[in-house]
């Protein structure tokens, strides 16, 4: 009987260390470890010189100053060569006046794409889908977003996620649906009956013992 071997690739998951890499980029050879101590948004796009990706790169360049204020670096990726990336970013600057200030990985070997689960054969066997990995200063994956090839990403949401994660880390709280900086945050739910009873006396704005909010 013929033995069938199947390779199981484990996809990155929230709360786990981001897969390490050393990759050729438009800013030279970079390692994941080079970003240690900073927040990092690693994102993939399907291909250079394509319309949706071009609008996204312009949009990422536009939010880059806001991200930098929050200590966040950006790192793009696609299965294109570094020459293609250089030609594309130069073309974007020539046609729109917008400079792409962040590096882009040239992942021709697909090593990084596969490690991060960026290729979804149901969408394309050769291109990366629109992934976003938010990686914290300890290089732990804190958020993963996947968008299909045909849908450009929402930059406001990416900045909002960074704000929510940084608020969580600073104040040990959670953030409710549609939360924006300055809104009330959620106090972690009590773990015991005693804590639940005390919770209602602590001056928070409570719907009930398990849903209490406060100003951060």
């Amino acid at each position: 009987m013929e033995e069938v071997k199947e390779q199981v690739i484990s996809l990155p998951r929230l709360g786990e260390p981001a897969p390490t890499f050393e990759a050729i980029t438009t800013h030279g050879m970079l390692k994941l470890g080079d970003f240690k101590g900073s927040w990092l948004i690693l994102f993939s796009h399907p291909a250079d010189f394509t319309p949706v990706c071009t609008t996204e790169f312009i949009a990422f360049a536009e939010i880059y100053p806001e991200l930098q204020k929050r200590g966040v670096e950006l790192l793009g990726l696609s299965v294109d060569s570094v020459s293609s990336h250089i030609a594309w970013v130069r073309n974007i600057e020539e046609k729109t006046g917008i400079k792409i200030p962040f590096p882009i990985i040239a992942d021709l070997s697909k090593e990084v794409s596969l490690a991060y689960g960026m290729i979804h054969p149901g969408q394309s066997k050769t291109e990366t889908v629109r992934c976003v990995f938010v990686i914290d200063p300890n290089q732990i994956i804190r958020t993963i977003l996947y968008y299909p090839l045909t849908t450009g990403r929402n930059m406001d949401e990416i900045v909002r996620i960074v704000d929510a994660l940084q608020t969580r880390d600073k104040y040990t709280v959670a953030t409710p649906a549609n939360w924006r900086p300055g809104d009330m945050v959620i106090v972690p739910a009590p773990n015991t009956q005693e804590m639940a009873e005390e919770r209602l006396k602590q001056g928070y704005e409570c719907v009930d013992w398990y849903l209490c909010k406060k100003k951060p």
Partner: protein, 73 residues
Amino acid sequence: MACISPDGKPTESGTKMLRALKSGLRAPEEIAKSSGLPLFRVRSGLRELVQASLAIEKDGRYELTENGAKLIG
């Protein structure tokens, strides 16, 4: 290489790092602050300078080699 051009000359970012090393800065964080380059660029750039024998690294601190000092003048 991002710091050294194929013709062997330092790029703008390479020059900034070499100058920072010449001024006595040793830690990547200090070099990033003085040069205005992002820390990730400084870390990768210093790695390149070491590979090109223009700098040496010991315990996470960097120094120019004789070749590095000659290149920056």
